[in-house]
């Protein structure tokens, strides 16, 4: 009798021990892979950021992280745009502008953009760090015809769907409204942040 009542218990024990062993070994192996890849992922991220910073502010020779902690920027249409980082662009000892990394939400998730802003608050250049927009549609925001429109514009850029853009307007991409307006939101948010940084710097 005793052995009969004992059997299911030991069975459950055996099941759970085997399962835990498998889970434990798997977790260990994954941890090992993570130990190899984590520094590489971090290194690539930093390298990519450094390259993008250089690309949007070619005249600067060093970038100083401001340690921005102002939180998200709310855009004109009420959406949150996260600010991932702000750098002062320096040429020698002179500050020539700043770079802001923003990640507005596009069609396929966050689009990470670095925006270079000149000392007088105008867009110097933009660079997409990463995105997962639909290939062939949302990815059109990588075309120079689109992002080129932003160069030289100052805070409060408006997007239009058709017609000829006025002084501070850009044309969104038809069929990729969501991706292109996300880009627009990102640039505007970056300009807002840059304004506060540049303003503070002059005083």
């Amino acid at each position: 009798m005793a052995s009969l009542s004992k059997k299911p218990k030991s069975d459950i024990l055996r099941l759970s021990v085997t399962l835990c062993l498998i889970a434990g070994i798997t977790a260990l192996l994954v941890a090992a892979v993570n130990a190899v890849t984590a520094p590489e992922i971090a290194r690539r991220g930093e390298l990519k950021t450094a390259q993008s910073l250089k690309a949007v502010m070619p005249e600067a020779d060093s970038f100083e992280d401001c340690g921005y902690s102002g939180g998200d920027i709310t855009s004109a249409d009420g959406k949150q745009v996260p600010i991932d980082g702000v750098w002062l662009a320096k040429s020698g000892n002179e500050t020539v502008g700043c770079c802001v990394k923003v990640s507005p939400k596009g069609y396929g998730g966050a689009i990470e953009i670095i925006v270079g802003v000149t000392g007088d608050g105008k867009v110097a250049a933009t660079q997409i760090v990463s995105m997962s927009e639909t290939s062939g549609i949302g990815t059109k925001i990588q075309n120079p015809e689109f992002y080129g429109q932003f160069v030289g514009k100052s805070a409060g850029i408006a997007g239009i769907k058709g017609g000829t853009p006025l002084k501070n307007e850009v044309q969104t991409i038809s069929g990729a409204t969501k991706s292109s307006s996300a880009f627009l939101r990102g640039v505007n948010a970056a300009l807002t942040v840059a304004e506060s940084i540049n303003g503070g710097e002059q005083k």
């Binding site: 055996r14 099941l15 085997t18 399962l19 498998i22 889970a23 798997t26 977790a27 192996l29 994954v30 892979v33 993570n34 190899v36 890849t37 984590a38 590489e40 992922i41 690539r44 990519k48 396929g108 998730g109 990463s130 995105m131 997962s132 639909t134 290939s135 062939g136 549609i137 069929g175």
Partner: protein
Amino acid sequence: MKERVSFLAFLKNGVIDNNPTFVQLLGMCPTLATSTSLLNALGMGAAATFVLICSNLVISLLRKIIPQKVRIAAYIVIIAGFVTMIDLLMQAFVPALSNSLGLFIPLIVVNCIILARAESYASKNKPLPSALDGLTMGIGFTLALSCVATVREILGSGTILGFELFGGVAPLTLFALPAGGFLVLGFFIALVQFLKDRKGGEK
């Protein structure tokens, strides 16, 4: 000896007779979601093939140890382990591809092809044939995915592997959108059914 001879038979089984996507109708989500461009399709196919080979091999090695009652849970843990590894490796070494596949890399865990092969093949066969089965099924999946992706990329974006094909002629964006994915896959499966039918008729 027998195993060496049958590699071609395995390949024919995985790619043609029992193609996981077109014949077994498994793994529809990644087939639809990652077939917007050929590069994405190849990346997804390679990642899934890696997981298929590894999980089939390990599950086959452990087939006498894993208790019958909790086998599915054990399979899922093993598969999830390999998926996490390939996810981390891709993030570290091919970040651009990892970005555009996004969510669908971790979702390889629930790709029915992998669990189906574990349950119906690897749990009953020796390690070597199981790994071979994983490889050929993976190739079958990758080929099917690439067929859909080729059509969608050419029609939807007017490019192939990123190269411009029609010199500025506006592509049929519909094919890059979700609706186009369903449509192209539907026509491919109809074609497969048509060919199978005709073959059956000849006999």
